[in-house]
């Protein structure tokens, strides 16, 4: 049997439901309260605007001592996100702090969509394109957003 859910996770989940962050949602699975279906809207004014991105988020046993595991499920053209949806973001790695939460992490990810950082790439090919021909890269990102990240009917 799994250990009872820590108070912290219960509180975070409640708050995500009761005071949702605009453009972000995170719903825990019925059978696993540590596993969340996440939805993040592309930030306005970015090349991901209008897109709705699905992610999966998992809180490991030693959360909040370690960061949540999080991954994009929707395909996205972004220099800091690879083909498997893994994200290169400092607060998910070295800069994680137990005082951070699911909501702050999701906000950071949304901010990352608004400010791609090709200098610290995870997806070399995309980052290269981003540096060499930004206009073209942004165009592709828009196309991918329209192709993969538009809400299903």
């Amino acid at each position: 049997m799994a250990a009872p859910l820590p108070k912290r996770i219960i509180k975070e989940t409640e708050r995500l439901q009761n005071e949702p962050v605009p453009g972000i949602s995170a719903l825990p699975h019925d059978d696993n309260a540590r596993y969340f279906d996440v939805m993040v809207e592309g930030p306005g004014g970015s090349c991901y605007e209008g897109g709705v991105f699905n992610l999966e988020l998992f809180l490991p046993d030693d959360y909040p001592m370690t960061a949540p595991k999080i991954r994009f499920l929707t395909r996205i053209y972004h220099p800091n996100i690879d083909r498997l949806g893994r994200i290169c973001l400092d607060v998910l790695k070295n800069n994680w702090s137990p005082a951070l939460q699911i909501r702050t992490i999701l906000l950071s990810i949304q901010a990352l969509l608004g400010a791609p950082n090709p200098e610290d790439p995870l997806n070399e090919a995309v980052a290269k394109q981003w540096k060499e021909n930004q206009a073209e890269a942004i165009k592709t990102a828009r196309e991918w957003t329209a192709l993969y990240a538009t809400a299903k009917k």
């Binding site: 108070k7 912290r8 509180k11 909040p64 001592m65 370690t66 702090s97 137990p98 005082a99 951070l100």
Partner: protein, 496 residues
């Protein structure tokens, strides 16, 4: 129902004290004034349509200075004591830019008779120019017009020598009446706001003391008395927690952040009243003093709501009557309102949003009343009963029991979380990022905070202590936490 009737009816209701009524805006009378202004304007040939043409020709942005007096100031200055020395100079006037040679108000669409009368006025104006001291205020609009003409209207520029253009001032006695009627009311409303706010602040302060008396847990002395007061403490905490969950007058966040309208506040107070009733908290309170203080708290909220309602209604009446004034006379009453905002800073709080974007914030003085009294209540009454959320550990979100302060920032963590962090080899403080975690030891226990929590959260402290004891037993295999366990043993548990 028309607003005028609605307003009169609300004023007549018994909800408001008799002495407030005299400060209310005299909506009916003001409406009559507007009618008189119109008659006056028509008598000099400036009927609504003519004025409309006149202002249409000018660009809407710097629409012709049909502003009475100097930069609109003349509206209320008639009633301002400092300017009382020259009152007759400040009769509101309609000002129209006219070519003094031809009498053309730079507008071909005016009726000939109007032009004639304006020409006469212009000549008269020139003769009186030496006497008047309006030159400074005349200059700016002229410059602006010159620029405008240069870019858009070169043909006209050649035919009309702008050097000859003059401001004609049409005195409007009825408009003066209008503002003389309106202005003192605003002063009265402001005085009323100040007086009522001061009264309510005093009540809030008194209530704060009363609440402190009934919730302050007594640690020494009679055991029975202590039992009573710390039970009550929990009732008060719940009562205030429900209040803060959905504040009545002011909302910190959400789409309707800021001061709430009377309507919203009213429904929130009703909602709160119902929730308090359903919990039966009032009946559970042990002492009559506690029950009385609780009732005072509810009454106080009703009183705040009342003055808010009164001010909001008057603000609406003022906005409506000025709108009517603008629409029917085409004089710019709004300039008057702008001036008022500098004179009564409290009016400023609703900024421009009150008039432009929907009714999310209450108008006029109601807004500052809501904000000020909400803040007073929060610090002087609600703050007396600490809420456990403010003492939660930022890592586990439970009360930070055996509180540890790392010395780098003000955050307080529970000892267990710090031990866990040390075991994980985390160096940096979760909140401020300084490398203080590994140096922490028994000396970092915050005894002051611990005392406070024991006093105000005895039940939570007990529960947390049990949890710790269990965790300590499980962790008896030693390791990084050993040192801290020793530390724990030294502390006598006063809540047990």
């Amino acid at each position: 129902m028309k607003f005028g009737q609605e307003f009169q009816k609300a004023l007549a209701s018994t909800e408001f004290p008799e002495e407030w009524r005299g400060s209310a805006i005299d909506y009916k009378h003001l409406k009559k004034c507007i009618k008189k202004i119109n008659t006056e304007l028509e008598s000099i040939g400036l009927d609504g349509e003519t004025l409309h043409h006149l202002s249409e020709w000018m660009s809407p942005a710097d629409s012709i200075q049909t502003v009475a007096g100097q930069d609109g100031k003349g509206y209320y200055s008639a009633a301002t004591p400092s300017l009382a020395a020259v009152p007759e100079e400040f009769t509101p006037q309609l000002r129209i830019l006219v070519d003094s040679k031809t009498g053309t108000p730079l507008d071909a669409t005016l009726a000939p008779e109007t032009r004639e009368s304006l020409q006469k006025l212009a000549k008269h104006e020139m003769a009186a120019a030496g006497r008047r001291e309006h030159v400074g205020s005349v200059k700016r609009p002229l410059d602006r017009l010159r620029r405008r003409t240069a870019t858009e209207d070169t043909a006209r520029k050649q035919s009309v020598s702008l050097e000859d253009a003059r401001w004609v001032q049409v005195p409007l006695a009825s408009a003066k009446d209008f503002f003389e009627l309106l202005e003192p009311k605003l002063q009265e409303l402001e005085t009323l706001r100040e007086a009522e706010t001061a009264k309510l602040e005093e009540e809030i302060f008194d209530l704060g003391e009363a609440v402190e008396n009934v919730v302050e847990p007594v640690r020494e002395g009679f055991e029975a008395r202590r039992e009573v007061s710390y039970r009550d403490l929990y009732f008060w905490r719940e009562m205030f927690r429900l209040y803060m969950e959905k504040p009545i007058f002011y909302s910190e966040h959400g789409p309707n952040g800021g001061a709430l309208t009377f309507k919203e506040a009213h429904s929130r107070l009703e909602d709160y009243d119902m929730r308090i009733r359903s919990t039966g908290l009032l009946e559970k309170m042990r002492t009559p003093e506690a029950r009385q203080a609780a009732k005072r708290f509810l009454d106080l909220n009703v009183d705040i709501l009342k003055i808010m309602h009164f001010q909001e209604m008057n603000a609406r009446a003022m906005t409506k009557i000025l709108k009517k004034f603008d629409k029917q006379t085409r004089l710019e009453g709004r300039a008057f309102l702008r001036n008022l905002r500098t004179q009564y800073p409290a009016l400023l709080t609703n900024g421009r949003t009150g008039t432009g974007g929907g009714s999310t914030s209450p108008g006029g003085f109601a807004s500052s009343i809501a904000r000020d009294l909400n803040a007073e209540l929060a610090t002087k009454v609600l703050g007396i009963v600490p809420q456990v959320e403010d003492w939660n550990c930022p890592v586990c979100y439970a009360m930070a029991w055996r509180p540890v302060n790392l010395g780098c920032c003000t955050s307080v963590f529970c000892i267990n979380c710090i031990i866990k962090l040390q075991e994980e080899g985390v160096e940096r403080c979760p909140v401020c990022d300084k490398e203080t975690v590994l140096q922490a030891n028994g000396r970092n226990i915050d005894f002051e905070a611990m005392d406070f929590m024991e006093k105000y959260f005895p039940l939570e402290a007990k529960k947390r202590q049990k949890f710790h004891d269990r965790a300590a037993k499980m962790a008896e295999r030693g390791g990084g936490g050993g040192k801290h366990e020793e530390e724990k043993e030294k502390i006598p548990c006063r809540t047990m």
